[in-house]
């Protein structure tokens, strides 16, 4: 091998970069996010009515899109009523509809958002709920 010093130095840099995700996680325990849906408001509802606006799988993937559509609908089209796929009507409102049941932002929204390192800009306009730490 020619120029062994430089070649090995370069390959070490390559290895350090490629294996970074592996050694960076050594000794760290990764906890899965488990958003909590046990708020008092949800507990109050009878068992068969504990349902979100749309089914869980749809909400998991599309809630951000839905909130964006709601924002546009309310603010730009003056239409504040959402007709769900189950035929129920809801008031398009983050604070009054979503957060009424999911009043636990820290234990619900933030769980996945922090895990995924996404920072939705909901709270640049809306007022963040003040949560009791009890």
């Amino acid at each position: 091998m020619y120029n062994a010093g430089k070649i090995i130095f370069g390959l070490l840099i390559f290895l350090a970069l490629v294996t970074f995700p592996f050694y960076n996680n050594i000794g760290k325990v990764s906890a899965k996010p488990e958003p909590k849906i046990d708020t008092p408001e949800i507990q109050k509802l009878p068992e068969n009515e504990r349902k979100c606006v749309e089914p869980k799988d749809f909400m998991r993937g599309e809630h951000m899109q839905m909130l964006n559509d709601w924002r546009d609908s309310v603010v730009r089209e003056d239409n504040g009523i959402y007709m769900s796929s189950q035929g129920k009507q809801f008031n398009m409102s983050l604070q009054n509809t979503c957060m009424k049941c999911h009043s636990n932002k820290k234990e619900f929204c933030d769980k996945c958002h922090n895990y995924m390192a996404v920072a939705p800009y909901c709270w640049t306009c809306h007022i963040q709920p003040k949560e009791n730490k009890s």
């Binding site: 020619y2 390959l11 490629v18 592996f22 960076n24 996680n25 998991r60 920072a119």
Partner: protein, 330 residues
């Protein structure tokens, strides 16, 4: 043929994923293949570099385009014609980060029977846009592999999505890389000379990368997958402890994305993509132009027996004197 063969291969690869998902081969596509691809990439990359390093570079052969170091009153171009290590490092940095030599790309044309040269920056611009967006996208993906995402990554992501279009926020690099890959492909189709020299090995990486970007874009903006599940899988993979239960909960399109990426990684060391490592080992770029200052000895030189004049004279001194030929030593 050179175009359709790689295109069909990429399509078959995509269909393979859907077939695998149908057959419940989640563990194969989610765990085994990614690990295998990464291993092939790392070992293959090292193998290629070591193989290159086993070739001697006997002389300094940099391609230069500036004044060489010479008399003190002639100004040297220290970057374009470097004579020191620092100059080489600056020159290499410009090459790696800004594609300096591609910036000099010229277009040659016959006009009125004369050859004319003109500036041609499109390839440079598209190449730069492509590589930089690819890098930013790669770095952005680190958020799937880290528990606490550092501020640097969040800042990069914030800048990339700062137009705040749609939700999930639109990344500028997604559009840039799609446009750049499309340009680099159409260029090969449109220019007859480039089309003539393009091989299947030129089209295949383009199609593969296009497929990876497209599946990623579709997954983020259109057909949502269980994104938290993706991170749980990724964290499991880097911790060598993947959770088999999560595999079937992530959507099929994620596996298309992951499989095409695995193919790209595994294909990397055996293809032109090795220019990632090769750019650092280009003798026309990474050497200083000091062949007038330093004597470079060919490493494969074998000892040659040299018969010097002194030895010659020692052998024939008597005869030379007799013949009246002048000698240096009496």
């Amino acid at each position: 043929m050179k175009i359709f063969f790689p295109l069909v291969i990429v399509m078959i690869l995509v269909l393979l994923v859907f077939a695998g998902i149908k057959a419940n081969l989640y563990f194969l596509f989610g765990v085994v293949i990614p690990y295998a691809a990464l291993a092939v990439f790392v070992l293959g990359f090292i193998y290629r570099v070591l193989k290159w390093a086993s070739s001697p570079v006997p002389f300094h052969i940099p391609t230069t385009c500036g004044q060489e170091k010479t008399l003190p009153w002639i100004k040297q171009n220290k970057i374009e014609n470097p004579s020191s290590a620092l100059g080489v490092i600056i020159r290499m940095a410009l090459e790696v980060f800004a594609f300096r030599s591609l910036f000099r790309n010229l277009k040659t044309e016959l006009r009125d029977g004369k050859i004319v040269y003109g500036s041609e920056k499109w390839l440079w611009a598209a190449g730069l846009a492509f590589h930089w967006s690819f890098l930013i996208i790669l770095v952005r993906h680190l958020r799937f592999f880290m528990e606490n995402v550092p501020v640097v990554l969040k800042t990069i992501e914030g800048l990339d999505s700062f137009l705040q279009i749609g939700v999930p926020l639109f990344y500028m690099t997604d559009a840039v890389i799609l446009a750049a890959v499309t340009y680099l492909f159409l260029r090969r189709l449109y220019l007859p000379q480039i089309k003539y020299i393009s091989l299947a090995a030129d089209y295949f990486p383009l199609f593969l990368i296009f497929g990876i970007v497209l599946s990623g874009v579709l997954m983020r903006y259109f057909f949502k997958v269980h994104i938290v599940g993706v991170k749980i899988l990724a964290m499991g993979l880097v911790g060598f402890n993947p959770d088999p239960k999560i595999l079937s909960e992530i959507g099929a399109i994620f596996y298309v994305h992951l499989f095409l990426l695995s193919i790209l990684f595994a294909y990397f060391p055996f293809s032109k993509l090795m220019h990632l490592g090769g750019v650092f080992l280009s003798p026309t770029r990474n050497l200083s132009n000091n062949s007038r200052e330093v004597r470079h000895i060919n490493p494969w030189n074998y000892p040659v027996h040299v018969h010097t004049y002194e030895e010659y004279e020692n052998d024939f001194r008597d005869k030379m004197k007799k013949a009246g030929i002048p000698v240096e030593k009496e």
